[in-house]
Subunit: 145 residues, 2 copies
DNA sequence: TTGCAACCTCAAGCTAAGTTGAGGTCAAGC
DNA sequence: GCTTGACCTCAACTTAGCTTGAGGTTGCAA
């Protein structure tokens, strides 16, 4: 550990539990930035450990990397997020969780209403409309909820 | 509409809201089966509308096609699922929903406990361990959610 | 019987979030 | 000075769940 505390990628990987390739990938996506040694090796700031940790948490909550990038926007590279940053970010995450819970509860209730009826009759069954926003959009794989 | 009620794929698509290509894909995956005309065109049974409708619902709940196939196993092609079938299947779905809700609530509470602390300190923060089963497995994309 | 929409197959492409591998360089300890 | 493990880039591959396109056939109605 040098005085100026720059971490090579392997160290960052060990500290965060991410793979080296994943960190490189995140850099490519613009989620982290790295300094370079004269020999072109990456060196990260200490604060990037937290930055990556945040990414891990946000991912578990179902945010895509693009959304995470947006959430992190304005948070300077390597800076330790302070209480205000964290409050701002966690606020939007909390809302997301609440929405997901509400949507699942709605679905569960619809399911209860349906048990035994076996209707599954398109459009009529509440299950189909339990959560409108689950429509698809664009090409590619249907988003796995 | 003939007496024996066989539906061409386009009709089935219109009735279910699925695309023709998706239905073909599901057939390839073994989720539905089709009869063929002498000219090799697919003809589906009426009951397949419900079968496909069920697939749509199950997908919304986060089941993969493989899991759905498993859930449908034993349910004869084209047969209208009866109350017993539906009870069996919906039972496992309900459990899934409950689990998801519980997991999200746990996460929300952890988040609340964390707001303001901004700790994000690997392993120590409850958010990291909010739901153990979210570990990864194998290659490919990390399962979303 | 002819026209044309709907159907067919098969191959390739797409997205997200990475992993894997080849082929080569760097840096730190002995 | 040399070895060796950590690092580098770049391209290709992975999975799931489809879509798109090319090139050809069917079936129904007028």
């Amino acid at each position: 550990m040098k005085a100026n505390d720059l971490l090579p990628i392997g160290e960052l990987a060990r500290r965060t539990g991410l793979s080296v390739s994943a960190i490189r990938f995140y850099e490519e996506c613009g989620l982290v930035e790295a300094l370079r040694t004269s020999g072109n090796q990456r060196r990260f700031l200490r604060g990037d450990i937290r930055r990556l940790s945040f990414i891990l948490i946000a991912q578990r909550l179902g945010l895509s990397l693009a959304e995470i990038e947006e959430a992190l926007a304005g948070l300077p590279q390597g800076r330790t997020p302070n209480a205000a940053d964290w409050k701002r970010i966690s606020g939007s995450i909390r809302k997301r969780i609440e929405d997901q819970i509400a949507s699942l509860e709605k679905m569960r209730d619809s399911l209860d209403g349906c048990i035994g009826c076996g209707c599954l009759s398109l459009k009529k069954c509440a299950l189909y409309n339990a959560d409108d926003k689950w429509g698809e959009s664009g090409t590619g794989p249907r988003v796995l909820r």
